[in-house]
Every structure is written in C-alpha cells, then in structure tokens.
Symmetry: C2
Subunit: 326 residues, 2 copies
C-alpha cells in the first residue's frame, strides 16, 4: 500500500523566528500564516519492510546527506509513534518550488506527515498531524489545517500544546516577488541561532511579536484588512531588524527587496492598500485585497517576476493505491 498526500507552502503574516526547544521545535512565539493555493508538494510513502534503509527521492532523484537525514529522523519519530520498525520509500515532487524562491520544507514536511501517518497506520486528528509536521520543520505545522486558508501556530509550552489551527481572516491575495531562488548564505536555522545568541533585540522581538500576534488574530477575526496589513509589514521589518542586530550581522534583504518595499509604500501613497513582508531571504511578498492584486503585480513586475496567490487548502491525502510492496 502507498499513501499519497499533498500540501501547500505557507507565508507568515506574523513571523516564526526563534526556537525555544530545538529538539521538539517549539517556537518562542506563535505565528500567523496564509497557506497558498499554489506550488504544492506531493509526497508518497510506501512501507518497505524488507529494506535496511529509508529511501528518499525528490523530483525522481535519490537524495542523500542532510536532507535525507531529516527525512529519516522524521520517519524514526513516526515509527516510534506507530510501534513499527519498517523502513519506507518516500517520493516527493514540488511544483515550481525553487523557481518561486519559496521555502519548500513547510509543504514538504506537511505532506510527508500526512502520508507517513496514513502509511504507518496512525489515526491522527488534524491537530496531531500539525504537531507531527512541526517535528519535521516548524512552519510545516501551519500547512496542515484546512478550512480558511489561514492558520495560527499556537506556541504552546510543550510537544502537546504546540500546533497550528485554522483561523478566520479577510480574503486577501499575496503577490510573490521572486528576487532570488538560490540558496541563502545563512540558513534560517543558523540565522535563528545567531540572532537569539547575539542580537540585543532578541527579547524585544519575542515580546513584541507575542503582542503583535494577539492584535493580528483579533484584526483577522474582525475582517480588518488594514490593521492586519500594517501589523504584517511592521512584524516583517522587525524580524529583519532583529536579525540585522546579530554578530556578525546578517542581512537577508537585497537592494531589489528595498526597491520592492519602496514600491509598496508608493502604491499605498497612491491609494492602493498593500503591505510588504519578507522571509529570511531577498524575496518580497505583497499583501493586498483581491481586487488590487493585478495592479500590485504590475507595479512589482518592474522589479522582478511575480506570482499572485490566494488562500489555499490544508494538507490532505489525495489517494491511497494498494500495491504489492515486493
């Protein structure tokens, strides 16, 4: 039997940046994201009881090294939960992940969590699937919930209480401006560690983000796009500020990223309500009302290639074909 699942990337409006437990991947603050309706990852998991090792294929190519180790560690956790010792074959494919410059690990581990849970016979609630996905990659837990297209990762205090759930939010669009699809000079993992250890702004980042999330959840629930947008841009700039304060300094934004924030500010001045955000890299994501998405994409299109995305579905099984494993 093979279990196949599909999940989509998510982009945070209130950022996750900082772990309080690296082993369990418990975050220092909660976060709020939109799951995209584009760029899904589809992953199949097949038990291979006779095999000595797990196998991981990405886009048809066998993967080794760190990425394989992360998948094996994740499967080890699933096996512990399921009381199984069987190895597995994991096949995963991303639709335009690197070209869009979006982190594929969130969609990847969300899809893997759903497929692996099914294949290993774990009957998990959405909440427990979110907790499971979190163990693979923190933000993956936000790609699990289905319903509104928006999810809040409750920071929690332990493995049990740290999960994402769907929350209401005003309909909006994101315009993803791809400025660099290459790998970062400083990984998110290393960046989080260094900023927590050396940035004087770390404590204030944690406390202000905690407060921002409370305000953003209320604004989202009230359908208050303006407040949600203002909080989004402020929170993103604060995340980069916190990171800039590290020793040695880390700077993820490129000249064109600043040009994008400038263009967004100009659009706002001209009456188009749009706000900017950026993860740990140069790409900028503009957040706007659905009716303004084309105008925003046109304006940012002068800086680089853009993609308009809407709220998307949660992670789910897409089929489960019965096969002979041998």
């Amino acid at each position: 039997m093979t279990a196949i699942a599909r999940a989509h990337p998510n982009i945070a409006l209130v950022k996750y940046w900082g772990k309080r437990d690296e082993e369990l991947i418990l975050p220092e603050t909660g976060s709020l994201s939109m799951t995209l309706d584009a760029f899904p990852t589809t992953t199949s998991v097949t038990l291979t009881p006779d095999a000595d090792e797990d196998v991981f294929l990405l886009g048809g190519e066998a993967v080794a090294g760190k990425p394989l180790e992360r998948v094996v560690a994740f499967l080890d956790h699933v096996r512990t939960l399921a009381g199984s010792t069987s190895r597995a074959r994991v096949e995963s494919s991303n639709e335009v992940p690197t070209a869009a410059g979006l982190a594929s690990s969130a969609a990847g581990f969300a899809a893997l969590a759903v497929a692996a849970a099914a294949e290993y016979g774990l009957a998990l609630s959405e909440r427990d699937l979110s907790r499971l996905a979190r163990r693979g990659s923190g933000s993956a837990c936000r790609s699990i919930p289905d319903g509104t297209g928006f999810a809040i990762w409750r920071a929690g205090t332990d493995d049990q209480s740290s999960y994402a759930e769907a929350v209401p939010a005003p309909d909006l669009r994101m315009v993803v401006l791809t400025l660099d699809a290459g790998s970062k000079s400083v990984s998110s993992r290393e960046g989080m560690r260094r900023s927590a250890a050396t940035s004087p702004f770390h404590d204030a980042w944690v406390s202000s983000t905690t407060q921002t999330l409370v305000e953003a959840e209320a604004a989202a629930a009230a359908g208050d796009f303006t407040t949600l947008g203002e909080l989004t841009e402020s929170n993103a700039l604060r995340m980069h500020a916190h990171i800039n304060g590290s020793v040695p300094p880390i700077r993820y934004l490129a000249p064109a990223s600043i040009a994008a924030f400038d263009a967004i500010e100009s659009l706002r001045a001209s009456g188009v309500e749009v706000y900017g955000t950026a993860d740990a890299g140069p790409n900028v994501v503009a957040v706007c009302r659905p009716g303004d998405a084309d105008a925003v994409a046109d304006a940012l299109g002068e800086i680089g290639p853009t993609t308009v995305v809407a709220p998307g579905p949660g992670a789910r099984l897409v089929s489960a074909a019965v096969e002979c494993a041998e």
Copy 2:
C-alpha cells in the same frame, strides 16, 4: 568687531540616536565620531547692538523660519551666558554641504558656538564650547574637540557633564558615498522621537550602544582597526534596525544603500578590510585603512559619487577683524 570660526562635519562610528532631554539635548548614550578634513562651515558673528532682531545669512541668503529660530534660540542662550542683550548678524557658508549629503548642522553649530562665544566675550574652555555647541545640535559638540580627529561625546547626566572630548584612534579614511543629497522624508528629530516612543528595540538599542561605545573606545585606544570597524558596522545596522521597528515603520536606507553594504561585504571577502556605516538617510560611509581608500572608492564609485576624507581639525577661530559695527 567680528569673530569668524570654522568647523568640519563629523561622522559617527558609534551613533547618537535618542535624546533623554530634548531641551538640553542630552543623549541617551555616548557616541564616537571622526571629524572630517573636508566640507567645512565658516561662520562669522557680529554684534549689532542697535538692531531689534538677529539676522542669519546662509551662503549669502537671508534665512527665515525654523532654521532662523534655531539660530536665534542658540544666540539667546549665548546672551544669557554673557549677560548681553545685543542682537547679532550671523553669516555662514558651507563648502559643498548639501552636495555631499552630509548633515551640515554639526559643523554649523560648532562654528557658530566658537564664533558667538568669542564675539560675546565668553572665555570658554574646549569642553565648555562643546557643551555650548551641543545646545544648538547634539552632534555639533563632537565637531569642537581638536587633536586626534576623533571625539567621544560623553552622554553625561546633565548640562555640565555632557560634552565631547578628543580620543586616540587608529588612522583611517572614510569613503562617503552620496546617494541622495535631498531632504529626508522623516527628519532625524522626528525619527528619534518616533523610535523612542514606538520601537520595541529602543531599550536594547540604548543598552547595547552603551556597551558598544565602551568596546569601541578601547579598540580605538589600542589602535585595533578591525574591532573598531566591526563595531562600527554592527552599530549602524542596529541603529537602522531600531528605527525600522517604529510604528509606522521608518526606513532610511535605499536600494543603493544595500548595494553599498553588499559591495563592502564583497570587498571584505576579497581581503580589503572595510566596514560600512550610514546615518539617518541613504548615504553610506565606508571606513577603511588609508592604503585601501582608493580601492574602496573605486568599488563604491560604481554605485554613486564618492569622496575620500581623513581625520580633520576641531572647530577654531580663523580670524577676528576689528570693524565698526555701525
């Protein structure tokens, strides 16, 4: 009698950003700067006992509004110290101030302090001249001290204890990259207020800068260019980070500013030891050893016009011609 004084701008290696007393212009932290050997301001002050009002000419043009008010308020303070009621005529000229995009207020008030003190008959020590200049514009106090080309503004706790003094430092050059000579969208004064009131990073900015100044003074005294440079770049990025955290956000750096920091990072990677800093605007200043200044100017010259500057003299009287006031 007319007193004429000349002073040069200074650029901070450890930044002044935040007042704890707006009236006395007492800073929240001390700061460290290099006084430039370029772009001087020359200012003459002539008592006009028969006049009803002060007159202020800048570059030969009569000045009105806010700039005049600041000069009159400064002269009022001088008159109080001198026990005089006489009005004065102030003539000031800047050499390429706006074209270089450098704040002219530091050199301007340093020159005015020296000329006005002489003209009003105040015999002030260098320290007291620094305190006096501070009342006109905070960073002006750093353009007073003569000797090493470098000054530390001791934050102090009151008017008496807040002044700048010369400190030893390794010989170095600054390469000023002029990206915008226009006026800022958000003034330094307003930016300081907003970041102190709304940025979650304010307290950490103050405490980390206080610590950075201790380390920078020690590095400068030891002739440790590398440590001084690393602290300079870190402190500048932290100042901008602190500012970015404001509500609404303030961003002073332009796309080309980031390109300059990227170029500086590339130069470092190629073995040229150079560090970047930036005040509350888009211009970037590269700090390097004297022997590397031309290479740095060449590299940054691809982004915009550059000027190489060396440590310069303190503010001083340049002549005092006896004239008939009437």
